[in-house]
Symmetry: C2
Subunit: 349 residues, 2 copies
């Protein structure tokens, strides 16, 4: 099948889908509703957003003069190579602010603790939160603790909310055909590290979570690209593929990604192959995707490379097929990189 007839078929599907708002029709919650893919989107767009009068269930939203964002963390195990739930809870929330163009100022921390939780484990996570907050230069300003009976949680669940100040350099807006797609470093490390840490697979590979604050990268991008910086997303649950699909749909554009340009550590690639997962769908906790107008793409990439030399330009925004992400394979073919279905990697954040 030629590329064009394939794209025509895709366009037909898209035309049909475009008019429909997803409806939440499931009878019960499944793990897939938490995976960041199609089921999560249906839950959000079909139930939560309309009930709360939002156009989308935003990652970060204005409240008064600040931006706020919130995330719960239910990762298991609580500690894994390269990080822990406490560090993740700080960086994940800081990063949602950063990619919305807001300088992170403060976070709140709400803990749901399991009765019987070892005090040493709690102390370690409290210290991890404090340390990550210092590194990200945010203050922990308020908190809450609740306790549930033994067996009704897994050690601890954390929810952090971040408050940030919109950066005046940020002029984020609509994606335009021709915008370049930049990636801040190698993908799939966090999700791979978690899966290996669980010991469910007979794999001995040294992969560490990439959890970190993305504010320094955002700060550098804002300096380098200014108003040519159209949008940013941290590629967490559902990975880079989910971010691209979400934005293609929201901005009614297409995207073409060059597979060979996407930086993947060979160890991550090997682990993903054995696990049967495309690394593009594996979670990151310290990588962002940036969309930059072509006139500033080189400067933006140079700024990102000064922080992580594996940063790369991986593709381009196109007009058609609207709402779709296409991958150019290393062999010159094209395939659709669809939304994630199901939850291949549960509880990774």
């Amino acid at each position: 099948m030629s590329v064009s007839s394939r794209e025509e078929r895709i366009l037909g599907i898209i035309e049909t889908a475009r008019a429909k708002r997803p409806r939440f029709k499931d009878a019960a919650i499944t793990m897939a509703h938490g995976a960041g893919g199609k089921a999560t989107q249906t839950l959000i767009e079909g139930l939560l957003a309309p009930a709360f009068g939002m156009t989308e269930f935003d990652d970060a939203a204005a409240a008064g003069d600040v931006l706020v964002t919130t995330d719960s963390f239910v990762v298991k195990p609580l500690r894994f190579p390269g990080g822990s739930i406490g560090e993740l809870a700080v960086n994940g929330t800081v990063n949602d602010l950063a990619v919305a163009g807001a300088r992170p100022l403060a976070i709140t921390v709400a803990m749901i603790l399991e009765e019987g939780l070892d005090a040493g484990v709690l102390r370690a996570e409290v210290e991890a939160i404090a340390q990550a907050a210092r590194e990200a230069q945010v203050e922990v300003v308020a908190g809450d603790t609740k306790v549930v009976e033994r067996g009704h949680a897994d050690g601890m669940y954390l929810t952090t909310t971040g408050v940030g100040r919109p950066d005046p350099r940020a002029r984020l807006g609509a994606l335009r055909p021709g915008d370049r797609i930049l990636l801040s470093g190698g993908i799939g490390e966090h999700g791979t590290a978690i899966m290996l840490a669980r010991g469910e697979f007979e794999l001995e590979a040294a992969v560490e979570s990439d959890t970190r604050s993305l504010w320094p990268t955002v700060d550098a991008l804002l300096d380098a690209a200014g108003p040519a910086l159209r949008a940013m997303r941290d590629a967490t649950r559902g990975g880079v593929a989910s971010v691209l699909n979400e934005l293609a749909r929201a901005h009614r554009v297409a995207m073409v990604v060059r597979e060979r340009s996407v930086p993947v550590d060979p160890v991550v690639a090997g682990a993903a192959e054995i696990l049967g997962i495309d690394p593009m769908y594996v979670a990151n906790e310290g990588k962002l995707v940036a969309f930059v107008g072509p006139e500033k793409a080189d400067e933006a990439l140079a700024a990102m490379r000064a922080i992580d030399e594996r940063a790369a330009e991986i593709g381009e925004v196109k007009t058609e097929p609207q709402g779709m992400v296409l991958v150019e394979t290393s062999f010159g073919g094209r395939r659709v990189m669809d939304q994630l279905v199901g939850d291949p990697l549960p509880r990774i954040c």
Copy 2:
């Protein structure tokens, strides 16, 4: 034993305790750490606050130009007479802002859902959140959903974070001897309603949770008392007794409460007696304690009574015994109303 010799003994205990900062020495988390009493305070003051560089683990704190506050909700059952977890999650957070003197503007909602949760149950809580937010005039601006495996949560746990704007009329500050202690209505209704809803007791009593937004009461108090309004607290976990103890310690004052002035619905009083609990320790979700200078106490009480006719002046701030709350019983005696120990009413919010 005469009142004076008793107070002397109390003063001796207090002198010893005053110098000590509580230390968190427990080997593991117990239900008491979530009850809002002594164990919670030790966890907060002994571990969390020092790690996060706070003087206390604040209910609401400044971040930029706004106040933020966060709370997790793990109440069971999810629905109970007079309310549900969704309604509680909105009002509880709105009330933390209100008593800090901030007009609630916006909230975020993070949901941890249990795999297998019935979609109808979820829909009902989403609607409860939306309805409570409309009534409290706050916008739901951002959110998150995570899913944990069946059995790793009880249907849903919610965490809400509120953003509010400090009200210019609020001049909250230190309590002073002579300040009057006002209560906005009858106590113990929420905790009693939850306990009865669990069906653990052979009691048929019609008690509804008092969950509601306290902003209208705060608004009226700010108008009536202005700078004479020293402090407010919503009397949730641990009830009125915990609020008074916390403030007596924090402000290094004493408090005397007239037991006969405290409004308690006879049904609540009866249930509490059968459950073996002093209603002063039972949770409320729509009642606040206000401390008002004597020159404005009558106006403040009148303003509160216009909203709930059971509002009452229940006592006064004193100098000694510092950090202590004393109750004048209906028979003219005095006893210490101590901090809550253990968790007589688990998972009520």
